[in-house]
Amino acid sequence: MYDAIVIGARCSGASTALLLARQGHRVLVVDRASFPSDVISTHFLWPHGMSYLNRWGLLGEVLAVTPAHTTVEVVNDGISLTGSVPVELLREYFRDLHGDDSGVVQSYASVRRRVLDQILIDAATGAGAEVRTGFTVRELIVEDGQVVGIRGRTADGEPVEERARIVIGADGRNSFVARTLALPKYDERPRCTFAYWSYWSGFDLGPAQLHRRGRLACAVVPTNFDQNMVLVWGPSEWSREFRADVPGNYQKALDFVSPELGEMVRAKGTREERIYGTLDQSAFLRPLHGPGWVLVGDAESAKDQCTAIGMTHAFRDAELVSAALDRWLRGDVSIDEAMTAYGDRRRSQNAAAYHDYVCTLAEMRPYRHDELQLFVALRGNQQETDRFIATHADVAPVSEFFQASNLFLLNDAAKESSADHAVFADFAETSRSYQQNMFA
């Protein structure tokens, strides 16, 4: 009998197991995959994601093999903004959500899952959690409507049954736990992006660059093995046509969004792996918990990749749920109180506002005139640029940036005008041309 069984041993699962084991609980964590291995992911950690690793004592191990930076360049239709997530906002985030602001770091990194997930699993094992990989869960054991354990097969095909006081579904957007319990989906936002990416060597641009033009976007982010992740994405309505020639359209999208990056990749880059892609990124929530079970990470709330927030959110969930479960397992509170505490944080106003923010962004509509003017107004206003980046990354609440008096002030403080930027020259025509599917 375990205190907790965690299904899924990646970002949310291994972290939850690690934290619960460190709190002295008996934890079993299982995963179908063998490790180290990759999984579809933008594998980006925003500074709060890195801060979680630091709080858990794992950041050094990650940084030993992974490049990290603090500033990020965001270019929207040629309007460039460079900034970083302010330490003060990071501290505020941790105080609000977790009650303490220790271990905050300002850097971000792109960590391959075959690197990161192994570090997390090793840490969970080191903390005393029992980790079984290559383990396939076949069913949940349910008694009197309560999940009490799992039945599955080990890597050798041996049937196994294990029981625990709580079963934690950390098994991603296609969660076995959620499917088995036939959990509904809420707050669905079907419009999403398609994304294709690969890994390139041969150049080093320093900090991450995010570019957007019309309905397409690309990112070049340095990652492990002296490679860059080069990712392109666009509206899923265009995915069918894009797919007709993936390598050709991948380069075509790069050339369109940023001719400089397109040329860099063509002239200097060597592609080190096949091109990967995903179309299935619609957003939804699931019920968070029920009798004998609780969900964390993508299993409870899946979102589009366009803000690259998934792993950071998985870490957040791990801290929230392990803190809540710890109080219950110690007997300080009832399971209902513990789950309400977790649920309040995860289904809050701020969470709803960010869900809407990501889903709206994922529709990849061309930026409107007023949105682009906001980016112009931000140029030269470093404090507000940084706050915008922090808002985009779900460090600062959407409500504090997108507030009328703030937007008025931003406008008034603008140092540049639309006259300084080419996209405004014939905006109506440009905007119309962006609506055309360039892969058709």
């Binding site: 179908r32 995959a33 291995s37 990759d38 999984v39 579809i40 098994d171 991603g172 076995f176 499917r179 809420y186 707050d187 669905e188 079907p190 999403c192 899923s236 309505e237 995915s239 069918r240 797919r243 007709a244 993936v246 096949r274 091109i275 990967y276 892609g277 995903t278 179309l279 299935d280 929530l285 699931r286 968070l288 649920g343 309040d344 944080r345 289904r347 809050s348 106003q349 701020n350 969470a351 709803a352 506002a353 809407d356 709206t360 409107r368 005139h369 007023d370 949105e371 906001l374 609440p397 959407v398 409500s399 997108f402 009328a404 703030n406 937007l407 008025f408 002030l409 406008n411 008034d412």
Partner: protein, 525 residues
């Protein structure tokens, strides 16, 4: 399109993209070619196999004969292969109406000021068609605790009225109506002109004295609206090199006044007096020559809370800064003898500048600015443009406000406030007891937190037909993502009415949540 390489092994086998491979698997499944399915699956990347764990990638060949399982796998793979929303049509009007915010239209494109407003208008029309536009409802009769209204599609409704700012129910008070009639008889409806010329009457002088008495600051200037008082006070006093520290949630007239007066504006965290102290220290470290105006509301009109004015005033004096407090919502409706938040904190006569509005408890239009300085009064009259260059309050308005001020200070005023707070507590207790979140402190404003705009707009649509008139506030009144219902209570509300309204609101919210299939609650963080 038929994916290439159905049965052939391409040269760079391990470089094929997963989408292409899934296409091949689906085509093979249609042919019943399990061998190709299994062979192609082995080529699918580790990335995808580890992500899509509900597909038995290693066992596709064993699906031969297992029709149910094959159908499930084909359906799942198709779901990855075809964008979900193409299979999931929605009402485009409603999607547009619910997914946008007014700020999406703040900077329209184009050189033609007339035509570039049309995008916004399209959105307004979509909100109207879907009956989610909460603005511009009109009254069919004098509002009381119950009101009859028409929405801007011409549909009528009758409901318990939480939309009136008439906190002491003066609109139906015989004394108030009589004062209006008498002024009408004595002076007629027109104020002759600007108060700087001949717009004021003896009633105006009496009113200034009565207000001065109420807030303990004897030099009072009247303005034609509350908005004009706030805007006029700020732009009248502050110049470009001066500084303004303003609470993020202070009223729009003060925010816009600040923007118009100087670029040196700091919007400090709501109610945070320590933040004010920090900003003041910073400013005074580099600027000892110019003025600093600190601006806050007394009772905040959307959050129903108030600052520690005692400390705030002291901090201002320590840094040679001037404090301006807007008491529009609390003066008359709460506090000892109707003295509002100032009286509650023992600050009558102690605050540098007080402004207020007559549009709430005082049953009229208009506003005022008060201080202990006759010089400041004359200066604001001259340089606060909204005083000099507007027609004065009409004699009827000044007479109504004067009578309201008299009742507010009387025993009858105490009795009305007691009734008001009985209704406030009934409403808050019932809402809270039903698991909803009332923000702020007990006051005539009861903000019911909703959060998500879609939920609020949908609930607003339902409430219209269910007998509760409640104003839904969203951006730009509140920050995005923290919409709410602002329920304004009156002395005329019976406690049973308040409880009935709470029950109806809870039902509308539950139905809206079900309609939107939303799992989000309203806890702030």
């Amino acid at each position: 399109m038929t994916p290439p390489g159905d049965d052939t092994v391409t040269i760079d086998l391990d470089q094929r993209e997963d989408g292409e491979l899934i296409g091949i698997i689906l085509a093979a499944a249609r042919r019943g070619d399990f061998e190709t399915m299994a062979r192609t699956a082995s080529e699918v990347s580790e990335m995808t196999r580890n992500w899509v764990t509900h597909i038995p990638w290693d066992d596709l060949a064993s699906l031969d004969g297992a029709d149910d399982e094959l159908a499930r796998v084909v359906e799942e793979l198709t779901g990855m292969w075809e964008p979900a929303h193409l299979r999931n049509p929605v009402d485009p009007d409603e999607e547009y109406a619910l997914d946008k915010n007014a700020y999406d239209f703040y900077r329209p494109a184009g050189r033609n000021l007339l035509t570039r407003t049309e995008d916004f208008y399209d959105w307004v029309q979509a909100r109207r068609r879907t009956e989610t536009w909460q603005y511009s409802r009109v009254l069919e009769a004098a509002p009381d605790s119950v009101a009859q209204i028409t929405n801007d599609l011409g549909r009528r409704a009758r409901g318990i009225n939480f939309n009136s700012q008439d906190y002491l129910s003066f609109n139906t008070h015989p004394g108030i109506r009589e004062a209006a009639a008498k002024a009408m008889h004595d002076y007629g409806p027109h104020s002759a002109g600007s108060p700087m010329v001949l717009g004021n009457t003896r009633i105006s002088d009496d009113l200034e004295a009565a207000l001065g008495d109420l807030v303990g600051l004897e030099h009072v200037t009247l303005f034609p609206t509350g908005w004009a008082a706030g805007f006029g006070a700020v732009v009248g006093l502050v110049r470009q090199s001066d500084h303004i520290l303003i609470d993020r949630l202070a009223h729009s007239c003060l925010q816009q006044g600040a923007r118009a007066a100087t670029r040196n504006v700091v919007r400090y965290e709501h109610l945070n007096v320590e933040a004010v102290r920090r900003h003041l220290t910073e400013i005074r470290a580099t600027d000892t020559r110019n003025g600093i105006l600190v601006v806050t509301d007394g009772l905040f009109s959307v959050d129903a809370d108030w600052p520690d004015l005692v400390t705030l005033q002291r901090v201002c004096r320590e840094h040679d800064a001037t404090l301006l407090v807007d008491v529009a919502h609390d003066l008359g409706s709460m506090g000892p003898g109707g003295t509002g938040v100032l009286g509650m904190q023992g600050l009558l006569g102690e605050v540098d500048i007080v402004m207020g509005a007559f549009s709430k408890t005082f049953c009229s239009n208009g506003g005022f600015v008060a201080s202990r300085s006759p010089a400041l009064k004359q200066y604001v009259k001259m340089f606060g443009g909204s005083h000099f260059f507007s027609n004065a309050l009409s004699p009827v308005q000044t007479a109504v406000v004067r009578e309201a001020a008299r009742i507010i200070r009387s025993a009858e005023g105490d009795a009305l406030r007691a009734r008001l707070f009985t209704a406030i507590h009934a409403l808050r207790d019932e809402l809270t007891g039903r698991g909803l979140t009332c923000m702020g402190e007990p006051s005539p404003i009861v903000p019911l937190l909703i959060g998500n705009e879609k939920l609020a707009r949908t609930a607003n649509r339902l409430l219209f037909d269910r007998g509760v008139l409640a104003f839904m506030v969203e951006f730009p009144v509140t920050p995005t993502g923290s919409s709410r219902f602002r329920l304004q209570v009156q002395a005329g509300h019976r406690p049973e009415e308040a409880r009935e309204a709470a029950r109806i609101i809870e039902g509308a919210l539950a139905d809206s949540r079900a309609y939107l299939s939303s799992a989000f609650g309203s806890a702030p963080r």
